[in-house]
Amino acid sequence: MIPTSRRGLLAASLAAAAAGTARGAAAQARPTSFTVISHRVHQQVLTEGQAGDVLNAWRERNNASLDWVTLDLNAIHDRIFREARLSSSNVTMAYVLNTRAVPSTFSMFEPLDPYQQRDPIEDFDDFSQGMVSAFSNNGQRYGVPVRHSVNCLHYNEAYLQERGLDRPPQIIDELVDYARRLTFTRADGTQVFGWGIQADNYSDVVAIARACGGDLITEDMRCVADQPGMVRALEIIRQLYQDGLMPRNITAMKQNDMITAVQNGQIAMHNFPFGRTVLFNNPRSSRFPGRFKTTYCMTSREQRERGELIATAEFWCMMIPRNARAKDMAWSLIKEISSKENTIRAAMNGNQPARVSAYADPRLLASVPYAEQEARSLQQSRVPMPAFDRSAEAKDIFVEEMQAAMLGMRTPQAAGANMARRIRPLLPRT
């Protein structure tokens, strides 16, 4: 069922050639439609917002239309990888998240260096190099970064004032204390919790572990979950939960449940990507419009003194499936989306740009209040966990053991040791 690469390539290039001639012959006919798989948000930032439709010019120039297939996070990758295994696919271009871009999947996508040599994207070095290298294998680039999400601390300023706190927490030792003071019952009976995490993922706990001087998996692929930093983080999470400072049903709350809870004023502080502040402050969906503020994530005292930030980040790249029929069109589209001007326009529509220079643009600075904080965080950002072939399993093990520690089924010590013991065999040998 898996196409041998040579035959697959041949078929694909024949199909591409055929598509090319057909396009030439019927230039003024109905626009040719190209399928893009992405999250809804990727389509939104290119089509609606302050800067309007970013791809209008490209569509007219190429007499093309785009067919966006927008799915949720897991479904996008399920679909892309399933499509990419076929002998040929309608999918022209796909958005892939860094955690899912594991080395073994690269063989299903086009290497992009030849395209870049033939028809270069302007000022490629402007892209965040960390993101580019995460989508490279053996020195070959496979993806063009298009969107990132760097986490920061979001807090409900109204609650801080109500509880007599004049600034957000800055160092990790303040977390439990702040959470305790921000856990209370409002006059209308709503229970407010001081702190929230996404308990079905690792990013929020890793941020705490890093502020405690630890980590889950280091950049050189060592699992250090049994070291004091992660164990301390598990202790903090456990205390927050056992003392009732986080929602009781936290293990069943998905990201969107969390967002709703923050908007409803049920959670006072939470780490989220910067861009979420727009949702939290939106009068249509929030009970505290304009009262949510952003600040840097908590660090240790020493990190703070050294001016270091903790900023976990994830990001999206655009990739071309190896079995795509219209690869040149895909590259043309990627190039268009990645131009400096279009990067800024998409950013004004709510995208978090992957070009460093975008954060110097006055239009962006004027329209995005947190641009400066975000730019600084981006510079120091790191992915919460490096991608490797079996990272999905490692994630599940982490979540299982972390929840067990949080709910009191295991000690933080034992949970950390279990994580290390179970994750180490999954790591690539280096």
């Binding site: 069922m1 399928t35 999250h39 809804r40 948000v41 067919d67 297939v69 927008t70 799915l71 949720d72 996070l73 479904a75 679909r79 399933r82 295994r85 076929l86 002998s87 009976g189 998905k254 990201q255 969107n256 449940d257 967002i259 709703t260 908007q263 409803n264 949702l279 969906s285």
Partner: protein, 276 residues
């Protein structure tokens, strides 16, 4: 039948309980879809409120493809129902009227093959359907839904046709009727309630099915449950009102369909048991 009042009271209580159990959650969804957003979260749930169509307006404006997918769901469900009922009545008739090792084996196969979890079928099926170019078409879902309900459809119809006296087809046969004529002219009209019952099962399943629709459709043949789950997974926070409006729109037609046919449903499943 005469009985004492405690028994009557007990029965009334049982009826009330089961109505609350089955109907309560549905009523909550339907009512909530007409509530202004703040009221959705009020406790105790408000029963008296000023109904609003705002969520339905949002649904029409922000999710226009929802209605297209509802149409897809309807077309797919109707086609799958026709295919399943046709295949089931043929099989059910043979199972009811004929005996033999091959027949028994075929019936056993029908049930046994269903032991395989559908999820695992997706692994080989996706590349195959893609090769045939039927992904994202009505055809692939129609076939799959028919496949997964033809077993139960055949069993229901076998049981029902068992209840039709064999003397009738023997008489017809003596009058010179062929197999097909017996089936079309005699069995099918008499087995109509059984066919309706089987139809209800497969229609409801096809209308609500999620997994296959999720895997095998992209845009053209996408069905309504997929869109509802997309609404649930929205990163912008769950818009409960919108979700309830979509859920109501999706459940009302099929609920009405089931209610309209419930009489046949009971009859279709009843008569077959006559022989016991």
């Amino acid at each position: 039948m005469r009985e004492r009042w405690p028994q009557r009271l007990l029965r009334a209580l049982v009826v009330l309980l089961v109505v609350a159990w089955s109907g309560g959650p549905v009523a909550l969804i339907v009512l909530s879809s007409f509530k202004p957003t703040p009221e959705i979260f009020s406790f105790p749930p408000s029963v008296v409120f000023e109904p609003t169509l705002e969520h339905y307006r949002t649904l029409v404006e922000k999710w226009p493809d929802f209605f297209a997918t509802l149409a897809n769901s309807a077309i797919i469900a109707v086609l799958a129902t026709l295919l399943t009922v046709a295949a089931s009545v043929l099989a059910g008739y043979v199972y009811s009227r004929y005996r033999g090792t091959a027949i028994a084996a075929s019936a056993l196969f029908m049930v046994a093959i269903r032991l395989l979890p559908p999820i695992v079928i997706i692994l080989p099926l996706f590349p195959a359907t893609s090769l045939l170019g039927v992904n994202d078409t009505y055809a692939v879902l129609v076939m799959l839904y028919a496949t997964f309900f033809v077993s139960i459809g055949s069993m229901v119809l076998k049981t029902y046709i068992d209840g039709i006296p064999t003397e009738l087809d023997e008489a017809a046969r003596i009058d010179g009727a062929g197999e097909l004529q017996i089936l079309l002219r005699l069995i099918m009209p008499l087995a109509a309630p059984g066919m309706v019952a089987a139809a209800v099962f497969v229609f409801v399943y096809s209308w609500n099915e999620y997994l296959f629709a999720f895997v095998f459709t992209t845009t053209e043949a996408k069905t309504a449950p997929i869109v509802i789950s997309e609404m649930m997974g929205s990163l912008t926070g769950v818009d409960w009102g919108l979700l309830f409006a979509a859920a109501t729109t999706q459940l009302v037609p099929v609920t009405l369909f089931v209610i309209a046919l419930q009489r046949f449903l009971v009859a279709g499943l009843t008569a077959g048991s006559v022989k016991g």
